[in-house]
Symmetry: C2
Subunit: 516 residues, 2 copies
């Protein structure tokens, strides 16, 4: 026994990647609608430090203020609520914005077309959603190229087919072959028609947000939509400290329809905020609360999500970096602040600056994803597919990230301390020096004991070599192909489908194509 | 502004991977001797649950007991200490083993040949060490092959050259071209001669442990060694619940010399322990405490490290799996138990079952490494290089893992809340809607703001494409070559070197080669 740590035993020969892939591709019905976490978030700061953080956010809002551009209605709402409006600049008394957020629900249901897929957002619940917003897509056979509506549909199908994503996402890639002013219609239709999970609508213009909501009304019924959340809209702050009319317009449209805006400052430290984490987090808190407050001024009680997007920079080259330790720490604080203000939290998942799904990509994505899990995020956007700082959506990356999404389900369950879990019967049965393979306890727990990621190859070197020495990227490419080949469209009422297509046709006929 | 999350700005064009590599290769002198963590470990269980866990460990030791094979001295020591010895089986009253551990120090210094590289093991300190025990090595140019003494020396040089490892490790790979009964001499010499950081000695036979310590005496002085720890020995329990004479022999040799044994149960759930985490952790706790107790019976006050090695299994194939969520959770509990018994904790770092440093490898390694960081480990073995369940030491994997070791330094620092970190001057200077690039605050913090991993490519797609579309594995291969080319041997007193070589020559001449 020279090196026991390096000589793991094997029970019997393992299955090939192909079998694992098939297993995973057919498993889409088996996942839970969302995760109910059993382990506490990681509390990085104590209450005094969090109060300090909040007071600094108040100081930013009181001394510097936030600019609201081209939106007289929003300025008027804030003025009426007691803020000091000076031109475009809006300032607040300490604690004032926080009070305006108080009518927002701490937890709400986003209904899905398939009721079994409705998600609970807030509290101890965790919803995983695909990456959002990439103009490019990448796959192993075809390399990097602009995204199309066919790519968009593919990613909706992939999200529908996995047990480990709970949500269909929003702009899973930009369908650049559809006119800019029309593509939101095709995107919303794809989410509704090719999947059955919750989804996000357009935010790029107030009218596109309204169209998205109108299609949701067709699918869910107008009355249902007025009293229930069925669509999310992801609105970004123009950090630092600016809200523009495109974003406030979308935000107000969603809130007025009682649908949930996700309010997200996009802070790349050193560019849109300070290079120091404490300052960036205080800024983010200030910016997010102002957006949340606006939703409540438009419609008190409207669901809304406290969002977050922190990143860092390679200061010598000026490139943004992702999956780095500073935002990982910052997220932990953001989670604490969101809980203190009583709002559901959105964080980002599998970030990386890598152009391909290599070791760098997965190391950075795992740091980023684990931070989202540890910080207590309720809605994790960008859980699968992210490459290249968000510029490309990767097919193989998507499948590789799903392995980690699956692991998150097990991780957030924590450790059961039920008596049977201690296996005292097995120790008495097996005794010192014998293996547990055949013990009654092992047989009882055999099937459910361990998470087994579909793409990971845990076979011996020889088995792996004889199966073609594949990388996880290569196995992911197989899984992409198989999953899309095995995909079956979820059923939809024919009249609903026709009504959606009719609405889309009518709206498209009213517009001339715009390509920028 | 259609997709702000997907359109990160850039300051100016970035450097090539080669420049980053050169920077890293020359940075070996700049790292801290070890990490002093500023953030608390993640406390998964509450005090009641931990008491339950301890009582279950006691129950295993009281009802089933531990077998100690071929070591009458150890049995006699335990009998004299009040344990019930029945043949080879040793049983303990509840709390009895824990009491026997009480004389072990909670924290100690392992002195390095270069005093600036001595490490503090225990408390809030974290020491990162390379992977241990692989018979094979792998690199991109040469593929997978048996390790040699040249490979061993290379890994010592790489560990010496990085600022992010604090320790030279032990069997960084098996030098299979040296006779089994002689290679410990070449390994210890390599650590002493080609590096200057702390290291681990042989444990594969009591005489080899003694030889390792004797070489340390030559390097540090016999008197110094008797009252200071200068070498560690990693001893594995033959889980479940067996200590064999090879391991107790090594353990006793290190303890008698006042050197630190690292006591490590090797539990692959379903094989050497139950498939359930609670049971595996209770077993590990029981096994470790017995080993620690034995060190204290041999020499009260001898330094010793509470070790841990939990893994999981793909139950359908029987293959061990690494970097999975169950051991990640188990480690968090192990950390709590180690702190309660007041011992420094060893955990494992960058685990994976992947055969190559691909996406799977880095995702699994990152889950595993982050668990070690979160659980409060003081000594993280296998921080760099691990592939294939420990069967292969990867050159490129080593460099890729170092990026994460570097990130650990930043992560464990936590977030400073000093007033300047909130950047209120910058908000007032910049105001809404302007960039922070040129602010006084950014200029003040520019150089030190963000961790920048040497291998990660955060350049634009176009820059990356024009630089050859490299993966992180390919960039790591360049960095390996450059680091070894730039390596300069640390100075050593000529008389010491001669004495070491003389001792090795003499010992080798006394033995016939054994090859198994």
């Amino acid at each position: 026994m020279t090196q026991p740590e390096a000589a793991p035993p094997r029970l019997r020969t393992g299955g090939r990647a192909g079998r694992a892939a098939t297993r995973a591709a057919s498993a889409h019905a088996q996942g839970p609608p969302y995760i109910e976490r059993q382990i506490a978030p990681y509390e990085l700061l104590d209450a005094d430090a969090l109060s300090l953080m909040e007071s600094k956010a108040d100081q930013i809002l009181g001394e510097v203020g936030i600019e609201i551009r081209d939106d007289a209605e929003a300025l008027q709402l804030f003025r009426a609520a007691g803020a000091v409006v000076d031109g475009l600049n809006v300032r607040f008394q300490p604690g004032q914005v926080r009070e305006l957020c108080a009518t927002a629900p701490t937890e709400f249901t986003q209904h899905a077309r398939n009721p079994a897929r409705s998600v609970q957002i807030g509290g101890n619940n965790v919803v995983l959603a695909p990456t959002y917003g990439s103009p490019f897509v990448r796959d192993l056979p075809g390399g990097r190229r602009y995204g199309t509506i066919a790519d968009f549909q593919n990613f909706v199908k992939l999200a529908y087919s996995t047990p480990w994503l709970h949500h269909s996402g929003g702009t899973v890639c930009e369908p650049t072959d559809v006119a800019v002013n029309k593509r939101h219609l095709d995107m919303v239709y794809a989410h509704l028609r090719y999947g059955d999970k919750g989804f996000m609508g357009s935010v790029t213009a107030p009218q596109r947000a309204a169209d998205s909501i109108e299609m949701a009304r067709i699918a869910f019924g107008a009355e249902f939509v007025d009293s229930n959340c069925v669509i999310l809209g992801n609105v970004n702050v123009n950090s630092p400290l600016v809200w523009d009319a495109t974003m406030t317009g979308a935000l107000k449209t969603y809130a007025a329809a009682n649908q949930a805006a996700v309010v997200v400052p996009f802070i790349l430290g050193g560019a849109m905020g300070p290079v120091t984490t404490a300052g960036a987090v205080a800024q983010a808190h200030a910016e997010t609360m102002v957006g949340v407050a606006l939703t409540q001024l438009v419609r008190p009680g409207a669901p809304v999500i406290y969002g977050n997007f922190l990143s860092s920079m390679a200061l010598r080259s000026g490139s943004p970096t992702f999956g780095m330790p500073e935002p990982a720490l910052g997220s932990l604080i953001v989670g604490q602040l969101a809980r203190r203000v009583g709002l559901p939290l959105r964080c980002s998942g599998a970030f990386t600056s890598s152009k391909v799904p290599d070791g760098q990509a997965m190391a950075e994505s795992t740091v980023s994803m684990m931070s989202a899990l540890l910080c207590g995020a309720n809605f994790i956007l960008h859980s699968a597919g992210w490459l290249e700082g968000g510029l490309a959506m990767g097919y193989e990356k998507f499948m590789m990230d799903l392995d980690l999404c699956g692991a998150a389900h097990t991780y957030l369950k924590g450790v059961s301390l039920d008596d049977d879990q201690f296996a005292l019967d097995a120790f008495n049965e097996v005794g010192p020096g014998k293996h547990f393979f055949g013990s009654q306890h092992t047989l009882r727990h055999y099937e459910t004991a361990f998470y087994e990621p579909p793409l990971s190859d845990s076979n011996s070197f020889e088995q792996w070599r004889d199966a073609g020495e594949t990388t996880s990227e290569q196995r992911a490419a197989v899984l992409v192909r198989e999953t899309l080949a095995n995909y079956e469209m979820p059923p939809m009422d024919e009249a609903t489908d026709e009504a959606l297509l009719d609405f889309m046709g009518r709206r498209k006929s009213e517009m001339t194509d715009q390509w920028y």
